[in-house]
C-alpha cells in the first residue's frame, strides 16, 4: 500500500490513478493487455506444405523427370520432345492446383473460426490523471485504477480496494457456477481463493467495485491457463494418420513398381531415356491425383452437414475423429443438463409428487386438488423476490428472462406455469415487510395482506433450509388441515427430505402463519430489524426440491452412445450426489448398476470388503483422484464401464483425459470454461459449447456445439462414422482404376505393343471423369445401423486395409484392365492390326522414319496414320475404363449389403456422378477429338460397348462377394474379401 500511495494523492478515497505518461511507459514495457493469440503458421508455409504434402512430391519428381527427358531429347533433336515438356507442365499444374485447392479449403474452415474469435473491443473505465475515462481494455497497464459495475467483463486481474455488493461469476475460470462475492478483504494466501481479487475475463454480476490492475495480458491467471493449453501439443488427427498411411501405401506401390520396371526396361536394352519416360508413366498411372482433393471435399461436405445439425467443425479432419471416438468425457452443467434450476419434486400431504422438468413444460400434471397445495402455492408465489423482466408476455414462460437467483427463478417459473399471472397475485396480496435470505438465518420471510377482502389477517410466508424451517414450526398442514407436528410427522418429513436430498436435489421448506387480526391490526408497523412478529410455532406447508434437470434428449443420446460402444464419462465440478443423480437420470449410470458404495450399503459390509469387479459404476471424488497413482486410475478406467468424476479440478480433467488415452481410446472432451481448455486441447477431439462456452474453450476446441446439446454429439459421431465408411468406398473406387492405368505401361514395356493409353489421357480420368463420382460416394447412406457397432480401433481398423488394396488392385482392377485391353485390341484389329502383329511392334511403330509399315492385311501406314490410330486406342481404352468405373461406382455403394438392399436410386448424387462421367467422356471424344494436343479422337459408337460385359462382370462378381460375406460371416471369405 505504501508504494502505491503516490498514485492516490493526498486523499486515499479519491484515487488519482496513473498519469498518462506513466501509463504509456508501462504499456511500452509490458505490452498491450491482451492474450497473445496462439502462434499461427505463416500463410506461405501453410501453402508450401500443401505443395509438397501427399502425392505432390511424387508428382514433382515425375514433372522433373519429364523436363530432364525433354532437355535430353531437345539436345538429340527428337521431334516429339515437346510432349514431355507439356506433360511436365501439366503435372506441375496438377500439383499446384490441387495444392491451391487444399489450401483454399483449409483457409475457408479456418475463417469460420476467425469470425468466432473476433470480439467487440472491450472498454474499461479507468482513472488516470485524476479523472475517469473510457479506454480500450487493451490499453490497461499494471497500476491502473479501474471501476467495474454489474454486467461488466473484468478487463484484467484486479485487486479490489473498494467494493459494494460485488459478485462475480468465476465459472469460466473455475467451473463453479455459483456467483462469488468480492470485497476488499484479504482472505486467503492463494490468489484464486482470496476475495479481493477479480480475474480477467470473468464477469461482474452485480454491485460495483474499484480496483487496481495487478496483472495484464498473458500474465493474468487466464493468460497462464491459455498458455498451458497451447503448450499441449497439436498432434495429428486419426484421419490424417489414415490418409498418410494410404499415401504411403500408394506411393510405395508406385515407387516400387516404377523402379522395378525401370530396371526391367534397362535390362531389356531399352534406352535409359525411354526407361525414364516409362517411369513417369508408371508414377502418373499409380498416383490418384484427384483423390486428396476429393477427400477434402467429402470432409467439408460432412462438415457442412454437421453444421446444420449444430456441430460446427473447426478442423476438417476432426469430422472423422468424432466418428472414431470411444470415450466421451462430458461436462455436466449445460451439456447434459439444461443449466437452469427447475422444480423437480414436491412434498406435501405426506406424499412426494414429481414435477415435469422437460424444457418445454406448459402444464404440471400432479394432483393439485388438495388444500395443502393451495397453501403451498401461495407461499411459493409470495415468498419470492424474483421477477420477470417486463415486456415478455408473448415469450413462453420457460424462456422468459428473470431477475433473481437460480432457485427463486425456478420457483417463479414453476408458479407461473401452474397458477399463471404470478405478478398479479403478488399485487393483490400486497407485501408489507420482507427479510431477504441470508446465510445466517437461512430463511426468507415476507408478510402480506390477503387478497380476500373479508379476511383481515396478515399472512406471513417463509421459506428456507428445510431443517431450519421445521424448527420454527409446531403444526403441519395435511389435506388443508393444520395438525400438530408430532414425532411421527417429523419422521415422515425427515424421510422425504433425505430422499429428495439423495436425488441430488436442492430442497427448500415452506411454511406460513396467519397473524391473528386482533394482535396485528391493519396499521401494525412491521419492523424487520426488531422482528416484532412471531417467527416460531408456524405451520409447515411442504417441501419443494429443485435440480438442474437433464436435457430431455440426453438419455436417448447416452443410450445411443452405449450401443455404439462409446463410453460416456461424466466429469464435473459439482457435488458427487448431484452428479450421481444426474448420471443415473441420463443413463450414464444405468438403472441396475451399482457403485462399490452401493453394494457395501446393500450388503451392509465395509467398502473395503466389496469385490471391486462387481461394481459396474463408479463415482470418483476429486479428493480421491488426487491421491491416486496412474495405475489406480487406469484400473478404474478399465474395470468400470460407468464412471462419474465429481468435484474435479481442471488439472484433474487433464489427468482423466490422459488416462483414457493411455487405454488407446479416442477421447472426446466437452467443456465450456477457460479451465477446460487444456483438456479440450489434450483430447483427440475437443468440443466446446457454442452458447455457454468461453472464447478460450472455443479456441482450444476442434468442434463447437452450437446448441450446447449432448445429443448433437451423437449425430456428429454418426456422421463421423459414415464419412469414414464412405471415404473407404471413395478410396476403393479410385484405387481400382489405377491398375487399369498401370497395366498398359507394363504390357507396353514387356510385350512392346503400341502404347494403349497416354499419360495425358490418364490425367483426364484421374482429374476429369472420376472426380464427381468419387465425391458422390460421400453422399452414400449408411449400410446398416452404424451406431450399433463398436468404434473403430485407431490402430487396427485402418482406412485402407490390406483387403481393400488387394481386392481393388488385384481383382476388380484386373477385370477392368482386361476389359480395357479387349477394347484396345478390338480397335486395332478392326482397323487392320491383329493382336499377334502388335506384339513386339513398338520400335517400328514409334519410328518417325518408317512410313510404310505393313499391317496384318498388307496395308501400309505412315507414322501419323499410326499415331492417330494410337490415339483412337487411347480413347477406346479411356472410354472402357470410364464405362467400367460406372460399374465400379455402383458396387462401391455398399461393402456388405447387396446393391438392391441399399437401393440404386436412393443416392441421387451417384447418378449425377455417372451422368457427369459419361458426359465428360463424350465431350472429350467427340467435342475435343479434333484437338491433337489432347490425344482424343471421335470414337466409333460400338467401341463404347466393348467393355460393357466386363462392367457387368464386375457388378456380378461383387454381388457374389457380398452375398458370401453376408452368408458366411467370420469365414475365410469374410476375412479376406471384406474391406
Amino acid at each position: 500500500m505504501e508504494s502505491l500511495s503516490p498514485m492516490f494523492g493526498p486523499d486515499l478515497n479519491f484515487p488519482r490513478g496513473l498519469t498518462s505518461a506513466r501509463a504509456a511507459e508501462i504499456l511500452a514495457r509490458d505490452g498491450p493487455n491482451a492474450l497473445t493469440p496462439p502462434k499461427s503458421t505463416p500463410e506461405i508455409i501453410k501453402f508450401l506444405k500443401q505443395m509438397v504434402g501427399g502425392f505432390s512430391i511424387l508428382l514433382w519428381v515425375g514433372a522433373l523427370l519429364c523436363w530432364i527427358a525433354f532437355g535430353i531429347q531437345v539436345a538429340q533433336g527428337v521431334a516429339s520432345a515437346f510432349d514431355n515438356l507439356y506433360l511436365g507442365v501439366v503435372l506441375a499444374l496438377v500439383v499446384i492446383l490441387t495444392g491451391i485447392f487444399a489450401y483454399y479449403q483449409e483457409a475457408k474452415s479456418t475463417n469460420i473460426m476467425a469470425s468466432f474469435s473476433k470480439m467487440i473491443p472491450q472498454q474499461a473505465l479507468v482513472i488516470r490523471d485524476g479523472e475517469k475515462r473510457e479506454v480500450s481494455a487493451e490499453q490497461l497497464v499494471v497500476g491502473d485504477m479501474v471501476e467495474i459495475k454489474g454486467g461488466d467483463r473484468i478487463p484484467a486481474d484486479i485487486r479490489l480496494i473498494f467494493a459494494q455488493g460485488c459478485k462475480v461469476d468465476n465459472s469460466s475460470l473455475t467451473g463453479e457456477s455459483e456467483p462469488q462475492s468480492r470485497s476488499c478483504d484479504f482472505t486467503h494466501e492463494n490468489p484464486l481463493e482470496t476475495k479481493n481479487i477479480a480475474f480477467y475475463s470473468t464477469t461482474c454480476l452485480e454491485g460495483t467495485a474499484t480496483g487496481m490492475v495487478i496483472n495484464t495480458g498473458d500474465q493474468t491467471i487466464i493468460g497462464r491457463i491459455a498458455s498451458l493449453a497451447s503448450g499441449v501439443g497439436n498432434e495429428k488427427t486419426p484421419i490424417a494418420i489414415e490418409i498418410e498411411h494410404f499415401v504411403h501405401i500408394v506411393a510405395g506401390v508406385a515407387v516400387s513398381i516404377g523402379v522395378l520396371f525401370f530396371i526391367i526396361a534397362v535390362s531389356m536394352k531399352y534406352k535409359v531415356l525411354d526407361s525414364i519416360i516409362f517411369l513417369i508413366g508408371i508414377i502418373v498411372a499409380n498416383v490418384p491425383e484427384g483423390l486428396l482433393a476429393t477427400v477434402t471435399v467429402s470432409l467439408s461436405l460432412t462438415a457442412k452437414r454437421m453444421a446444420k445439425k449444430n456441430c460446427l467443425v473447426k478442423n476438417l479432419e476432426a469430422v472423422e475423429t468424432l466418428g472414431s471416438t470411444s470415450i466421451i468425457c462430458s461436462d455436466k452443467t449445460g451439456t447434459l443438463t439444461q443449466n437452469r434450476m427447475t422444480v423437480a419434486h414436491l412434498w406435501f400431504d405426506d406424499q412426494i409428487y414429481s414435477a415435469d422438468t422437460s424444457e418445454e413444460q406448459t402444464t404440471q400434471s400432479f394432483d393439485q386438488s388438495s388444500q395443502s397445495w393451495a397453501a403451498l402455492s401461495k407461499v411459493v408465489t409470495l415468498c419470492n423476490r424474483a421477477e420477470f423482466k417486463p415486456g415478455q408476455e408473448n415469450v413462453p414462460i420457460m424462456k422468459r428472462v428473470v431477475v433473481g437467483d437460480a432457485s427463486e427463478t425456478a420457483l417463479l417459473k414453476f408458479a407461473e406455469v401452474i397458477l399463471g399471472d404470478v405478478m398479479g397475485i403478488r399485487k393483490r396480496n400486497r407485501k408489507l415487510a420482507e427479510i431477504p435470505f441470508n446465510s445466517t438465518n437461512k430463511f426468507q420471510l415476507s408478510i402480506h395482506e390477503t387478497e380476500d377482502p373479508n379476511d383481515k389477517r396478515f399472512l406471513m410466508v417463509m421459506k428456507g433450509a428445510p431443517e431450519r424451517i421445521l424448527e420454527r414450526c409446531s403444526t403441519i398442514m395435511i389435506n388443508g388441515e393444520e395438525q400438530p407436528l408430532d414425532r411421527e410427522r417429523a419422521e415422515a418429513f425427515q424421510t422425504a427430505y433425505m430422499e429428495l436430498g439423495g436425488l441430488g436435489e436442492r430442497v427448500l421448506g415452506f411454511c406460513h402463519l396467519y397473524l391473528p387480526e386482533d394482535e396485528f391490526p391493519d396499521t401494525y408497523p412491521f419492523d424487520t430489524d426488531s422482528m416484532n412478529f412471531p417467527t416460531s410455532n408456524l405451520c409447515f406447508v411442504g417441501l419443494l426440491s429443485m435440480i438442474d434437470p437433464p436435457r430431455s434428449t440426453v438419455p436417448d443420446a447416452v443410450s445411443k452412445c452405449r450401443s455404439a460402444g462409446i463410453k460416456v464419462i461424466m466429469v464435473t465440478g459439482d457435488h458427487p450426489i448431484t452428479a450421481k443423480a444426474i448420471a443415473k437420470s441420463v443413463g450414464i449410470i444405468s438403472a441396475n448398476s451399482e457403485t462399490v458404495e452401493d453394494i457395501a450399503k446393500r450388503l451392509n459390509v465395509p467398502v473395503e470388503q466389496v469385490n471391486k469387479e462387481d461394481a459396474r459404476a463408479a463415482v470418483i471424488n476429486g479428493m480421491e483422484l488426487k491421491d491416486m497413482t496412474t495405475e489406480q486410475l487406469d484400473e478404474i478406467l478399465i474395470n468400470h464401464s460407468e464412471i462419474v468424476f465429481a468435484r474435479t479440478s481442471p488439472q484433474q480433467k487433464l489427468i482423466i483425459v490422459e488416462g483414457c488415452q493411455r487405454q488407446d481410446a479416442v477421447v472426446a472432451v466437452t467443456g465450456d470454461g477457460v479451465n477446460d481448455s487444456p483438456a479440450l486441447k489434450k483430447a483427440d477431439i475437443g468440443i466446446a459449447m457454442g452458447i455457454a462456452g468461453s472464447d478460450a474453450a472455443k479456441n482450444a476446441a476442434d468442434m463447437i456445439l452450437l446448441d450446447d446439446n449432448f445429443a448433437s454429439i451423437v449425430t456428429g459421431v454418426e456422421e463421423g462414422r459414415l464419412i469414414f465408411d464412405n471415404l473407404k468406398k471413395t478410396i476403393a473406387y479410385t484405387l481400382t482404376k489405377n491398375i487399369a492405368e498401370l497395366c498398359p505401361f507394363l504390357i507396353y514395356i514387356i510385350a512392346s505393343v503400341p502404347l494403349p493409353i497416354g499419360t495425358i489421357t490418364i490425367l483426364f480420368i484421374d482429374l476429369g471423369t472420376d472426380i464427381i463420382p468419387s465425391v458422390a460416394l460421400a453422399y452414400e447412406k449408411a449400410e446398416s445401423d452404424i451406431m450399433n457397432r463398436r468404434p473403430r480401433h485407431k490402430k487396427k481398423d485402418r482406412l485402407v486395409n490390406e483387403q481393400l488394396a488387394v481386392y481393388s488392385y488385384l481383382q476388380i482392377g484386373i477385370i477392368q484392365s482386361i476389359g480395357a485391353f479387349l477394347a484396345y485390341f478390338t480397335v486395332y484389329a478392326e482397323q487392320g492390326w491383329l493382336p499377334n502383329t502388335l506384339l513386339g511392334l513398338r520400335v517400328n511403330w514409334e519410328d518417325d522414319y518408317y512410313n510404310d509399315i505393313e499391317d496384318s492385311y498388307g496395308q501400309e501406314w505412315t507414322r501419323y496414320q499410326r499415331t492417330y490410330l494410337q490415339w483412337t486406342g487411347y480413347t477406346a481404352f479411356f472410354v472402357s475404363i470410364t464405362i467400367q468405373q460406372v460399374a465400379d461406382l455402383i458396387i462401391r455403394k455398399t461393402r456388405r449389403n447387396s446393391i438392391f438392399q441399399q437401393g440404386l436410386l436412393r443416392n441421387k448424387v451417384i447418378w449425377v456422378g455417372i451422368v457427369s462421367q459419361i458426359a465428360i467422356a463424350l465431350i472429350l471424344s467427340y467435342g475435343l477429338g479434333s484437338v491433337t494436343a489432347l490425344n482424343f479422337t471421335p470414337l466409333r459408337v460400338q467401341y463404347w460397348f466393348v467393355a460393357m460385359p466386363y462392367a457387368i462382370l464386375i457388378w456380378v462378381y461383387d454381388e457374389i462377394r457380398k452375398l458370401f460375406i453376408r452368408q458366411y460371416p467370420g469365414s475365410w471369405w469374410d476375412k479376406n474379401m471384406y474391406y
Partner: protein, 288 residues
Amino acid sequence: MAALNEKKTCSQRMENFKRFVWNPDTGQLMGRTLINWVWISLYYVAFYIVMTGLFSLAIYSLMRTLNPYTPDYQDRLKSPGVTLRPDVYGEGGLEIYYNASDKNSWEKYVTTLHKFLSAYNTTAQHANINCTSEKYFFQKSFLGPNKTKYSCKFTSDMLENCSGLANSTFGFPEGQPCLIIKMNRIINFLPGNGTAPRVSCTAQHDDFSPLELQYYPVNGTFNLHYFPYYGKKAQPTYSNPLVAVKFLNITRNAEVTVVCRVIGTGITSDNPHDPYEGKVEFKMRIQD
C-alpha cells in the same frame, strides 16, 4: 488435438518388421499363416485362370468376327502415304547428301536401291501376271492359284534408265541420281478415279533453275491395273507399282529441297499433321 504419438525408434521399426515377416507366436509369415497363404494363392490362381480364360474367349470371338481379307474399317487410311527410296534419314528427315567423286559417300544409296529393287526382278515377279489394260483390275472371285487373286507384274526394267540394270550406279556418280517414289498400299483403294495418278516433283524454293526431271515409267504414272489392292491374303505376291525420278540438273554444292507429290483424285497431300500423306519431301545436296 490428439496425442497420437507414433514415433518409433529405428530398432523398434526393425523389430516390428521382423515380427511381420515371421511371427513365431502365431506362426504367421508376412501376416498370414502358411495354410492361409496356400488358400489365398489357390484362390488367386483360380481367379486369374478364369480371367485369362474369359479374355482368351473374348479375343477368340473377336478374331472370329474379323474378315480375313479386308479390315472392318480403314478410318485412318483415307489417302495413301508416299515414301522415297533410298530412305536414308539424317537430322532433318530424308537426306540425299553425297559427293559425286567419292564413291563411299553414295554407295549406300545405290546398295539400298539395288536391295529394294531385288523384289522387282523377273524371278521375284515370276508369280505375277502381265497386265496390259489401262483400267482398274477388278477381280470379283478368287481365280488365282490357291484361292488367291492375281497380281500384276511390276518389274524393275519398267523403270528403264533407273532400273539399275543398264546403269548399276543409278546415275549417282554423274550427279543425276535416280530416286524411287512408292505409294503405300491401301486395300480396295482406287486412286485417280479412272485416270492414272502420277508423280510430280518440284523444288520447294525455286531459287535455282527449275528442276529438269525424267520420270519412269513415262509421265511418272502408276498404271491403274495395279489397283485395287485386295490385301495380303488375296494377293500374296502383290508388289507396289513404282515411279522413278531422275534428277538431271541438280545444282552442285547446294541444298535443294524437293517435294514429290502423287497427283490424282482421292489422294490428298495437304494434311498439316502428316508430312507423308500423298507426298514425300527430301533434301538433296551433291558435291563435286
